[in-house]
């Protein structure tokens, strides 16, 4: 193991240790709440990156988040299904919808796809409003996850925020691990080369449509999982949380962090979720500040915040 790797591993372990003890050391539920929201945002942004590196401009992430949230709610509220079964089903429901949607639409390019996905978000939201079974305008109350009980050993009840924190931490770790493996695999390379030149990929015999749909489905699956976690955590959902505006904000957070780097979405999601809380005194000005950050980054740091160290290094060398 060379020196750089050693430094990286140590830093990683320290970060992991900090993340594990945070809710024990910091007893402030408000801080824990923000960390949980950061976790949800990381899942949304990191999975969205997978389709963006493929060159698909998907602004519809919140639609699949909503599908996950409502699937879990329906299962838990109407059919008394356990949370631990409902959560994967929430992801699968989002994946199935995205498979159909992606199969029909994935060949549509660029700005047209942007409009299509935004229209899809609105359609999902308006469908929720229109269908009484889905709660319509009404707020749906969701029970907390079923407790984890291992006889004589462990009993976890979802009463305080702490168990939710560990649950979202686990979900983030699983999501990032899966996405990391995909990113470093042959599939990751294929996805990136599709973005670089789709005709070239086709000419060497790659079924680009299948890969693009696959990336889209994986992305939506994780969005569905994030929604499935969000619903019982917040305890109530209403269509007002799933607007095209929310979808745009997920996309902005990803771009602020940087699409080019694997850790970009983690940085972007953390910053853009925590920012409104840091600015609590000036919350009215938060959109102004977010907009300014975004404009500055797009003009001066097109690789996002994650590219900052590299940019500084090349400047120093010159």
């Amino acid at each position: 193991m060379n020196r750089q790797n050693l430094v990286r591993t140590t830093a990683f372990l320290i970060l992991a240790a900090i993340l594990l003890v945070v809710p024990i050391v910091i007893r402030n539920p408000y801080v824990v709440h923000i960390l949980i929201m950061v976790g949800i945002s990381i899942i949304l942004c990191a999975s969205l990156r997978l389709v963006l590196v493929t060159g698909i401009w998907n602004l519809g992430q919140i639609a699949f988040y909503a599908i996950g949230a409502y699937t879990l709610t329906l299962l838990m509220v109407y059919y008394d299904v356990s949370f631990w079964l409902s959560l994967p089903l929430a992801g699968i429901a989002a994946a199935v919808v995205s498979l159909g949607f992606g199969y029909l639409t994935i060949r549509i390019k660029g700005l047209y796809f942007v409009m299509l996905t935004l229209a899809f978000v609105e359609m999902i939201r308006l469908t929720i409003i229109a269908v009484p079974f889905l709660g319509a305008q009404r707020v749906m109350n969701i029970p907390p996850p079923n407790p984890i009980i291992i006889p004589y050993l462990l009993r976890v009840e979802f009463i305080s925020k702490t168990p939710y924190y560990y649950l979202v931490l686990a979900l983030v770790v699983i999501t990032l691990a899966v996405l990391y493996l995909i990113d470093r695999s042959r599939m990751g390379d294929i996805l990136k080369s599709i973005a670089a030149s789709e005709p070239l990929c086709q000419s060497v015999g790659i079924n680009t449509t299948r890969y693009k749909v696959l990336a889209f489905v994986i992305c939506s699956f994780f969005a569905g999982i994030a929604g499935g976690f969000y619903a019982p955590y917040i305890g109530l959902i209403a269509p007002g949380s799933f607007t095209s505006w929310a979808s745009i904000m997920v996309f902005l957070a990803l771009v602020v962090g940087g699409v080019g780097s694997f850790w970009g979405p983690v940085i972007g999601a953390s910053l853009m979720t925590a920012l409104p809380e840091v600015l609590r005194g000036a919350v009215m000005y938060e959109p102004l500040i977010s907009a300014a950050i975004l404009i500055l980054i797009l003009f001066f740091l097109p690789g996002g915040l994650a590219s900052l160290p590299r940019v500084i290094r090349t400047r120093m060398v010159r």
Binding site: I108, A119, L126, I129, W245, V255, M284, L294, L298
Partner: protein
């Protein structure tokens, strides 16, 4: 649906649709010529409506004069925006995101200046006329006529004027236009000036009819999407037809199926994007 509510829905549809058409023509022009998906467009319309309130109510400027002042003022703002976006030309996604950020900027600034309570602007044109036994306020007729005049003026400018022809050439083939010595920066600037100016004017026009607030922008942008997708992005006649179409869908749809009408519009949009992305009137 009896005959009077039918005529009522028809008139509401024409009034709303003509305004949608003006706004969508601007959006479509910008997309066609500058290849910019202008997400700030909804906020430009909102600024027009708020400025309309300011000039009509606070300063008591006469209606036609207010329209002209706002048209020029917001047109100049459009020029600034074009200049701001110029360094990013060719990067579609970056431009899209910058226009979103600009929209956030404008909406939030407007909220700090004007507050967020909806304001009613007093009627500017009084009197009624009677058509087919239905009484219509003269104001609505004036709005529709003014919108039609704006669209017609734009049409003649683009078809006949030298600068308009240059704009059409850029929309058709940017490189070929450049080879002919057309300054594409100048064309883009003119388009932004005109499109933002007329959209702002649409905001002033409609201000006395509806409540004005600083949150108009988002819904205006969503409606513009629907209109330009139905009519075809970049298509001038498509934007007009799409605008009127949406006006009718909303007025009749609301009378018939209530809130479902919005869902239907978006479903139509998605199906159209899949089946016919160039729109009903657009050409491939």
């Amino acid at each position: 649906m009896d005959i009077s509510s039918f005529v009522g829905a028809l008139i509401n549809g024409v009034v709303a649709g003509s305004i949608y058409a003006v706004v969508a023509v601007g959006f479509s022009l910008i997309f066609g010529v500058a290849k910019v998906m202008f997400f700030t467009h909804g906020e430009i319309y909102m600024l027009g409506a708020v400025a309309g309130f300011f000039f009509l109510q606070k300063l008591g400027v006469p209606y036609p004069l207010a329209i002209i002042i706002v048209m020029i003022g917001i047109g100049l703002l459009g020029l600034l925006v074009e200049r701001f976006l110029r360094p990013l030309r060719g990067q579609d996604l970056a431009i899209l995101l910058v226009t979103i950020a600009l929209g956030m900027f404008i909406a939030n600034s407007a909220m700090h200046i004007f507050g967020h309570t909806p304001i009613a602007v007093p009627t500017q044109v009084s009197g009624t006329i009677s058509i087919f036994g239905t009484t219509i306020s003269l104001e609505r007729v004036v709005i529709v006529l003014a919108a039609a005049a704006i669209v017609l003026a734009l049409h003649f400018f683009i078809q006949r004027a030298k600068a308009g022809q240059a704009i059409r050439a850029v929309a058709q083939d940017r490189e070929a236009a450049q080879l002919q010595g057309i300054d594409i920066n100048r064309s883009a600037a003119i388009v932004f000036f005109i499109a933002c100016g007329t959209t702002g004017a649409a905001g002033v026009l409609i201000a006395p009819l509806y409540y004005v607030d600083v949150f108009l922008g988002t819904s205006a942008l969503m409606r513009t999407f629907i209109v330009v997708i139905i009519g075809g992005l970049g298509s001038f006649p498509g934007a007009i037809a799409g605008g009127l179409f949406l006006g009718f869908i909303e007025s009749f749809g609301y009378a018939l199926v209530g809130g479902l009408s919005h869902l239907i519009s978006f479903a139509v949009v998605i199906v159209l994007l899949i089946v016919r992305p160039q729109g009903l009137l657009g050409r491939e």
